[in-house]
């Protein structure tokens, strides 16, 4: 069902956890399906220094969370904003068709976290 890459990121997820006083936090949840994903960013000089996630969801949801966080770590905010759902799925070697919907969550949560970061920055100004 899942590729080896997916299973690797599911069994050994990277960046699980929370960041205290995160620069930005984004949470998305698909109520109908029951999955919830939360991403924490630590941004310094417009660069994502650290990123953590917590996910309640299927194997694909956990693996995409892990992969998405890996892909943006060390990137600039603008680079991170370009991350697409498809890029995450591709990096995982593909996802089963019925799992595409939950793979969308990771990029969505990331975009929300960035928006939160920007809002906080704006508030500081």
């Amino acid at each position: 069902m899942y590729t080896d890459k997916v299973m690797d990121h599911f069994m050994n997820p990277r960046n699980v956890g929370e960041i205290d006083n995160a620069s930005g936090v984004g949470e998305v949840g698909n109520a109908s399906c029951g999955d919830i994903m939360r991403i924490y960013l630590d941004v310094e000089d417009n660069i994502i220094k650290d990123v953590k996630f917590k996910t309640f969801g299927c194997g694909a949801a956990i693996a995409t969370s892990s992969m998405a966080t890996e892909l943006i770590k060390g990137k600039t905010i603008d680079e991170a904003l370009e991350l697409t759902n498809k890029a995450v799925a591709d990096a995982l070697g593909g996802l089963p068709p019925q799992k595409m919907h939950c793979s969308n969550l990771a990029a969505d949560a990331l975009h929300k976290a960035i928006a939160d970061y920007k809002a906080k920055q704006d508030a500081k100004k």
Binding site: E27, S32, C33, T55, F56, G57, C102
Partner: protein, 385 residues
């Protein structure tokens, strides 16, 4: 790696004696049971022996058994077959919310043919209330179909009491006994039902074969048409190896049932105790009125598919009512019907025991599971530690 199969309500391993009987059938008696010659007559003999064995397991007469391609077909044949045959008498059918999709979806399809379907609720243990059946019976009611035991939570319904009401009312009573036959004693005359669905692959027989018990005198239209096989109720060349395997499985189950039932019950108790020792775990289903092979718990804050995958990596095969396992959007309709919320239903875990399981298997699961639960909870945004 140790492999522990705990998904016997999904399907069972095929019993070695069953495989042997099937191989013998295919190697030595491959004829078409409809043929006049000796190859055909030998095949016919095996067919009727299998029918007698299946009938015996549920206290029926051989001529009241017709073979189908599985439990799903037996359910559909009943629902469409009886409802259509009774159309002139009435157009109301009663079923329950926790039925297998084969029953629920067939009933749903019936509504397009002008039938009205009442779907009875269940209590929080997953049981149909006898008084609800009573209240739902109408002059137009022609068929009531309530499962004997549920496949997800194992709750056993009071079919005998329900049947008495239904028969007194003059309607036809069907029960889907796919999950009880071979697991607890089942007798069509004790229960009093008119029709009963069975499936071979839940009792250590092969997949792709099932049976419908049809009490003598029960009218039923066929679902498909063709040859005269199975008293014209189910045409097509008989699945002889499958039927022979099913017959053999029935024979073995009839013999082993009394002892296995006790052993399953004991393993089940140990498993439930061990699981409930994990914090924030709840048992789903009825505390006592449940088939001895079924354990169903909800493990809060975690999602079923992830849990299954991690168990799988440890060699443990289980199932879950989570929506994510099925690729559907809603978690198990059974758990929801029992009043369990989406989130908790998502974290459900079903472990169903079988004849190969040992105490060591159970201890292995109880050893491995808490760590997995901990790992997944550590990842969960719902879990505050």
């Amino acid at each position: 790696m140790r492999r522990v199969y705990l998904d016997h309500s999904a399907t069972t391993p095929v019993h070695p004696g069953v495989i042997e009987a099937m191989v013998d059938c295919m190697q030595n008696h491959f004829g078409n049971p409809s043929s006049v010659h000796s190859f055909g007559r030998e095949a016919k003999k095996l067919l009727e022996e299998a029918r007698a064995n299946v009938a015996h397991l549920i206290g029926a007469r051989p001529e009241e058994i017709i073979f189908t391609s599985g439990g799903t077909e037996a359910d559909n044949l009943t629902i469409f077959g009886v409802a259509r045959a009774m159309r002139k008498k009435g157009n109301h059918v009663i079923t329950s919310a926790t039925e297998h999709h084969a029953v629920l979806d067939a009933c749903q399809a019936l509504t397009k043919e002008g039938f009205e379907v009442t779907v009875l609720p269940v209590d929080e243990t997953g049981m149909v209330r006898v008084e609800d059946v009573k209240a739902a019976l109408k002059p137009e009611t022609v068929l009531v179909t309530i499962m004997h035991a549920n496949n997800e939570v194992g709750t056993i319904n009071p079919i005998k009491e329900i049947t008495q009401l239904v028969k007194a009312h003059g309607a036809i009573m069907h029960t889907d006994a796919v999950q009880t036959v071979g697991k607890i004693p089942v007798d069509v005359n004790d229960l009093g039902v008119d029709l009963m669905s069975l499936s071979s692959h839940k009792i250590y027989g092969p997949k792709g074969v099932g049976a419908l018990y049809i009490r003598k005198g029960t009218k039923l239209f066929p679902l498909s048409h063709g040859g005269g096989q199975e008293r014209k109720r189910r045409p097509g060349t008989e699945n002889l190896p499958g039927i022979v395997g099913f017959g053999k499985a029935a024979e073995i189950m009839a013999r082993e049932l009394p002892e296995e039932m006790g052993r399953m019950g004991r393993l089940r108790q140990r498993l439930i105790e061990g699981l409930l020792a994990i914090p924030e775990v709840q048992l789903n289903g009825h505390p006592t009125e449940r088939i001895p092979i079924n354990v169903n718990v909800s493990i809060k804050y975690i999602e079923g598919e992830s849990l299954l995958l991690m168990l799988d990596m440890k060699g443990i095969a289980a199932s879950s009512g989570s929506a994510c396992t099925s690729g559907s959007l809603d978690p198990s309709h059974v758990l929801l019907a029992m009043g369990i919320c989406h989130e908790v239903a998502h974290g459900s875990l079903r472990l169903t025991l079988g004849r190969d399981n040992t105490e060591e298997d159970i201890e292995y699961v109880l050893d491995v599971l808490p760590q997995i639960v901990e790992r997944l909870r550590a990842m969960s945004p719902l879990y505050a530690n």
